[in-house]
């Protein structure tokens, strides 16, 4: 079959080529005898033979097209000959008449068109009559392929007329002509579907696709005609004369392929600016409603919206003032959606959904962010439509995914600091409903995440009225809290903004934010009761702690006010409100399960109370910290909390003294010191106690940055603590020599600190020398231990490899343990480790010696130390 058709095709080509040779010979021959044009008449025989090939049934439009190209080529020879020899050898009117007598329809029409077109090249002929005549004659051919190609031939040959700027033929006529041709061609094209043998539908489709360009060619010519006019006029022609007729054909042809193709190329061929005309948009939309049921409507709607958006972009790029009003356009499309919903209940949900993303894009692109605040109803309407439609359909994963995409299309058009996603949630009830009812938690959180992420950029606070609306989304089950606690926390974070605006409305803003915090506090406490068991990873603790930090932020704002120059506003500030905030804060902190975190938070809150001059609050908090430390508590955590407490107490020491609270403060300090003494670990205890000494000491500097002696410093107390520490470790027979030396070195360091700071009453040269003496005596024991160790190895290890005695990469930590600066393991040999520990202590002592020697040049007192 394939071979057979190939043969036939080859035959056709052979015939065409043979005839071409003959024609060329005839038309090029210049003979005296034949100067009346008889050669031309002779050639018509050959043209007839040649053109009969286009009359034959062809296997496919594609093959027909190949033949057509060949024939076109030969007809060009004829056309040129006719134009060149008019009036020389013959008159074209005669030839036109003559051809009419040809027997075969198809060859005759090709020849007539060629001749007619030749006549159009001369102004002496009536152009319009000729064109009308030609197009009318074509009505005689109802065979789809043959008819389409004849009409295509006419278009190709008449192109120069359409492009003609001189307007020998009026543009209106051209449009009429082209549209008439387009309508007939489209009809033929549709007939192709039903013509000939009943072949498979798919092969028919293929055939139709092969020739669709011929139809499109009409529209290409139409734009060229319109292009000849000024923009306004051409738009008018398009709107009033061209488009309605094209659309009428599109609708009335009731053919899916035709409708889809034509709507597609309509948008491709004609310029975007035409499609953005409001009347045209109305025309499009109303015709979309009338499309044949299976035609893809949404694709055309989407294309139309894309055209509008792209035109808006272009306007922006060229700095044209856009005449496109997003609001009006949106209303048109929404109205269309509603009609569509009423008139086409058969359309699947999906087809509606795909229109929504572009529609949102249209709104965001064409309405500037400021005006959009007043037109949020546009976006709300989109989601209202979704919520409404959703009721009638089964919601599959695919639908969920598509709906999510609709929501996320917002993202592509907004700035990273846009408040839009958040406004959508709190101001558009339909968006809120959409989120609450979205099928999967996962998708819901993705959407909430986006809303919150954008909101975070927009630093302002969340008002109380929006809070429940936001938190509601997280209340559905325990899983949501456990897996989305960071997201929930971000809501907390937004309760208090970082901006401190000091004005008369300051107190009101604090009150509002405090109310929001209280709301969240109750919310978290409810969670704690509800999900205590499910909360394996301490997520509620995470939230509780996070909320504590937000109370701190609120307090920091009030502190900023206090430090500002606007004293009046702070003086007027309601002090009971302040106390209420602390009361709530304290209550919240006690809900933290993790003890160390809880106590640390209390310590930090003390500092805030002090900055607000609320010493009673501070003391209440301090008392409760000390009470809590009493109970069972991990030793390391206890150590850490005490250190933190000491750090802050020391920092705030001056405050207590200045405010005549020294006695109360020192009572606390004594309690802290007693607790430090209670530590079981020698190293931790000594570190803590030596740190405690600072509770009785403040370093001040004067205006010249020189050390200033502070009368409130209590060297006696420091001296006592140190002595008690020395006494405890020297008298306890369970304390090793190493431990003793370690603590003494720390102690010596601390003593030097106070010595430098000018504590002359207790930290005398004599006192320091005594410590050194004690240290030296004890170091001797360690030296002996090390000597013994070395002797032992020499005896035992004659042939084993040398040990690494280097301490370059090592140091001693607070816990008295050796630590390495490399990631490698420390040699597990206990004796070797002890040896190295001792070496490190010697090294520390040497360092102190060097330091003391160096200080001698700055402070003569150092020269008197016998170190």
């Amino acid at each position: 079959m394939q071979n057979n058709s190939d043969l036939i095709k080859q035959d056709s080509f052979t015939i065409i080529r043979q005839q071409k040779v003959l024609i060329v010979r005839l038309l090029n021959e210049i003979s005296v005898i034949n100067n009346n044009g008889s050669n031309l008449i002779e050639s018509f025989k050959h043209f007839n033979i040649l053109l009969l090939e286009l009359k034959k049934e062809s296997d496919s439009p594609k093959e027909y097209y190949e033949l057509y190209i060949e024939v076109y080529d030969v007809l060009t020879i004829l056309l040129n000959y006719l134009k060149a020899n008019h009036l020389k050898l013959f008159h074209l009117t005669d030839i036109y008449e003559l051809i009419q007598y040809s027997n075969n329809l198809v060859p005759r029409l090709y020849l007539l068109i060629t001749c007619g077109v030749a006549m159009l090249g001369f102004n002496t002929f009536p152009h319009i009559e000729i064109l009308k005549d030609m197009i009318e004659m074509l009505n005689g051919v109802q065979h789809p392929i043959k008819g389409m190609f004849l009409r295509y031939y006419l278009l190709q040959r008449c192109k120069f007329i359409f492009n003609d700027e001189k307007k020998a033929v009026s543009n209106e006529f051209k449009i009429d002509f082209l549209i008439a041709n387009f309508i007939e061609m489209n009809k033929l094209w549709i007939r192709l579907q039903y013509q000939g043998q009943l072949r498979e539908k798919s092969s028919k489709l293929k055939e139709r696709k092969e020739v669709e360009l011929l139809i499109g060619y009409n529209l290409v010519q139409l734009t060229e005609v319109l292009d000849l006019e000024e923009h306004n006029l051409s738009l008018k022609l398009y709107r009033e004369n061209t488009l309605p007729r094209i659309l009428k054909q599109v609708i009335s042809c009731r053919d899916i392929i035709s409708q889809e193709y034509l709507l597609d190329i309509l948008f491709q061929i004609f310029p975007e600016s035409y499609h953005c005309d409001l009347t045209c948009i109305d025309l499009y939309l109303s015709s979309f409603l009338k499309l044949t049921p299976k035609t893809n409507i949404s694709k055309s709607v989407v294309t139309l919206i894309d055209q509008i958006i792209s035109q808006a972009d272009q306007n922006k790029e060229e700095n044209h003032k856009s005449t496109l009003d997003g609001g009006i356009l949106f209303d048109k499309f929404l109205k269309f959606l509603k009609y569509l919903n009423e008139e086409r209940p058969d359309l699947p949900f999906k087809d509606f959904i795909v229109i929504l993303s572009p529609l949102i894009s249209l709104v965001l692109k064409l309405i500037d962010p400021e005006s959009l605040k007043l037109r949020l109803d546009c976006l709300d309407a989109v989601f209202s439509f979704i919520n409404f439609k959703k009721r009638d359909y089964a919601i599959t994963d695919e639908i969920n995914f598509l709906l999510k995409r609709v929501f996320f299309s917002i993202k592509d058009f907004i700035e990273p600091d846009s408040s839009l996603p958040y406004s959508l949630l709190v101001e558009c009830p339909n968006v809120d409903e959409f989120l609450l009812n979205s099928g999967s938690d996962f998708i819901r959180y993705e959407m909430l995440d986006m809303i919150i992420k954008y909101r975070i950029q927009d630093k302002s606070q969340i008002p109380l009225k929006d809070l429940s609306r936001l938190l509601k989304h997280f209340e559905t089950n325990s899983y949501t809290i456990m897996s989305k606690s960071e997201l929930v926390f971000k809501i907390f974070y937004m309760l208090v903004d970082s901006k401190v605006i000091i004005s008369s409305s300051f107190e009101q803003s604090i009150t509002d934010q405090f109310e929001s915090l209280q709301y969240c506090k109750n919310w978290v406490l409810n969670l704690k009761i509800k999900y205590a068991k499910a909360d394996q990873k301490g997520k509620i603790d995470f939230l509780t702690n996070g909320l504590v930090s937000q109370y701190w932020r609120l307090l920091k704002k009030i502190i900023t006010l206090r430090k500002s120059k606007q004293k009046k506003i702070f003086e007027k500030f309601d002090k009971t409100l302040l106390k209420q905030i602390f009361k709530n804060l304290g209550g919240l902190i006690f809900e933290v399960n993790h003890k160390k975190k809880m106590l640390s938070s209390l310590v930090l809150s003390v500092d805030l109370a002090i900055q607000l001059n609320l010493h009673n609050v501070a003391f209440d908090f301090l008392e409760s910290i000390l009470n809590e430390i009493n109970q069972n508590f991990d030793i390391n955590d206890k150590y850490n909390v005490l250190l933190l407490l000491i750090e802050f107490l020391q920092k705030d020491r001056q405050y207590f003294i200045k405010n005549s609270l020294q006695d109360k403060f020192e009572q606390i300090c004594v309690k802290v010191t007693v607790k430090s003494f209670e530590m079981n670990d020698v190293f931790l205890k000594s570190t803590l106690l030596l740190t405690c000494t600072h509770l009785w000491w403040t370093s001040d500097i004067d205006e010249n940055n020189a050390l200033k002696y502070n009368n409130e410093n209590n060297g006696k107390r420091i001296h006592e603590i140190m002595n008690k520490l020395i006494q405890q470790i020297t008298s306890n027979s369970l304390v090793t020599n190493y431990q003793l030396c370690f603590v003494l070195i720390q102690l010596l360091n601390k003593a030097i600190y106070y010595f430098i700071h000018g504590e002359i009453e207790f930290f005398t040269i004599q006192y320091l020398n005594n410590i050194v003496k004690l240290l030296k005596n004890n170091l001797k024991f360690l030296e002996r231990e090390n000597r013994l160790y070395l002797e032992q190895i020499q005896i035992v290890q004659e042939d084993t490899p040398d040990k690494d005695f280097s301490i370059d990469d090592l140091f001693l930590n607070f816990d008295g343990e050796i630590a390495s600066t490399e990631d490698k393991e420390v040699d597990p040999d206990v004796n070797l480790i002890n040896f190295k520990k001792n070496l490190l202590l010697f090294d520390s002592f040497e360092n102190i010696k060097t330091y003391v020697l160096e200080q001698g040049s700055l402070d003569e007192r150092f020269n008197l130390l016998t170190i």
Binding site: P416, S498, I501, G538, F542, K565, N640
Partner: protein
């Protein structure tokens, strides 16, 4: 070896993320940074809390450098990390709970005081003591939200400040009240190479601010405001301030010594973000090991 040092992130409690400008800069330089050290006070939740799915750590891991060390973090083992961080971010497990961490970076002993307080807070002599104990050449301490760099007694002291601009609990003004060693500190600072001079200028300015603030405070304490002042107070004046602090971080560049025994030096780059202009300011300091 280029190390990124981030301090006092307080993510997510006191700040949600690194500033966009920092993220942009760090992302652009992905691959150049060999290691990230996070050095902070014990209250920073990133070091110990259930910051599951911490976006910031994930960002550092994916876009800056996979080798992240939460220095001094109480998260001890990989198993513990898996529980706390739901995403698979591998930070290094740690050796000690309460203490100093010392790293040997191309011949420099770099000590970190992270997760433990320095008492008295930010006190220079206390820091010198710690550095002596750690036998360090460089000492980096967290807990101070202002960036700082100075050399003293042959040791370089660095505070990375806060990378997120998180507020600190203590008052900003009090934090600037320096201890008695300020005098000595400034003398020493002038020994730092020429490029460090800018840093000195900056801190001098801070000191000036400090002085004026103190004056205000004393005014408040000593005498009631003048009647004229009262008038201006009553007028509707709006002042906008922010809780946040200028964000900053450090880059520590310690090149490998080529010849044994060669004098080795390092460069510290101080990046800070001016919140007024939203521009990054870069200073650098060279430091030679003695």
């Amino acid at each position: 070896m280029l190390s990124l040092i981030l301090g006092n992130l307080h993510v997510p409690y006191r700040a949600i993320d690194l500033p966009f400008k920092f993220k942009e800069l760090l992302e652009k330089n992905q691959g150049k940074i060999d290691k990230v050290y996070i050095c902070s006070s014990a209250e920073d939740p990133i070091m110990s809390m259930n910051t599951s799915n911490s976006e910031l750590l994930q960002f550092l891991h994916d876009h800056v450098c996979i080798d992240i060390d939460l220095v001094g973090s109480s998260i001890l083992t990989l198993e513990e990390q898996k529980v706390k961080y739901e995403q698979n971010i591998v930070t290094k497990p740690h050796k000690s709970k309460n203490g100093i961490e010392v790293y040997n970076i191309n011949g420099f002993r770099v000590a970190f005081i992270s997760q433990i307080p320095v008492v008295p807070k930010d006190d220079v002599l206390a820091l010198i003591n710690l550095s002596r104990q750690a036998r360090s050449d460089i000492l980096i301490w967290g807990g101070k939200h202002e960036v700082e760099a100075y050399s003293l007694e042959g040791v370089l002291f660095l505070s990375p400040g806060t990378a997120t601009g998180a507020f600190s609990i203590e008052s900003n003004h009090e934090a600037q009240e320096s201890s008695a060693e300020e005098n000595e500190k400034i003398d020493e600072r002038q020994e730092v190479s020429d490029k460090g001079d800018e840093e000195v200028d900056e801190s001098d300015n801070k000191d000036i601010d400090n002085v004026t603030d103190n004056e205000n405070v004393s005014q408040e304490n000593d005498k009631p405001p003048q009647p004229e002042n009262q008038k201006t107070d009553e007028e509707e004046i709006e002042i906008t301030e922010s809780l946040n602090i200028d964000p900053s971080f450090l880059l520590l560049d310690i090149p490998e010594a080529r010849i044994e025994g060669e004098e080795i030096s390092c460069t510290v780059y101080i990046y800070s973000l001016d919140r007024e202009t939203n521009e990054i300011v870069v200073d650098n300091i060279e430091f030679k090991k003695t």
